[in-house]
Symmetry: C2
């Protein structure tokens, strides 16, 4: 449904280094995500993090005015490293509730579709 | 997965009256949901509403200490009537973001599972 408005690609970056680091501890796990995600930093970068800004769907829609190349990063079980978050253009929190990775992805995809509908004045969001 | 911990039933109440009321306007739509949902009020009742309390997953888990019979109500496109919300034991907001009905249901189900895991000290939530 998003493809009506924009090109979208969903990359799952889970490598051996991340898998091994998960077993070592929080710090190691976060660093492994920074290493895996850093090559993808370009355009306008957004991370999902519990400490991020809480926005509504209309504010979310404004993201699509920022750039024509937007990346969303979702961290692992321990979240993302502060050093990585500092490189973001925006850090947002979906909810105070903790979501499983798959649920966060579903929510994020629906917000992207909803945001693009708002931007295009398509009636879906109403 | 929830059935490991509790009996759960998902009822979709969408009748002719709701369908007709939707086309008339916000007030009529909300009243039609009150009429359709009122017969299900028993035990501990919770509605999802944008004006509700924002809680994290640990606070959500505490809901299951309140009663052994808990109902969650999700409104239609216009939400629920104030009169109906006044009858609730708790009104919660999942997020500042607007979710499609299906997404709200997925998020709610995961929180119920997560909450029951927290209560049972099952490692899923970690």
């Amino acid at each position: 449904m998003i493809k009506r408005f924009a090109d979208i690609e969903c990359k799952t970056v889970f490598n051996k280094n991340i898998a091994q680091s998960q077993t070592k501890g929080e710090k190691e796990a976060k660093i492994s995500y920074t290493k895996a995600y850093e090559p993808f930093l370009k355009g306008y970068n957004i991370s999902l993090d519990v400490r991020g800004q809480k926005i509504d769907s209309f504010e979310f829609a404004k993201i699509f005015e920022k750039s024509s190349n937007i990346n969303f990063f979702i961290g692992g079980a321990y979240g993302l490293e502060d050093k990585f978050l500092a490189k973001m253009d925006k850090v947002i929190s979906l909810s105070d509730l903790t979501y499983a990775h798959k649920i966060a992805k579903v929510v994020l995809f629906e917000q992207i579709y909803r945001g693009l509908c708002i931007k295009a004045n398509h009636p879906y969001h109403k």
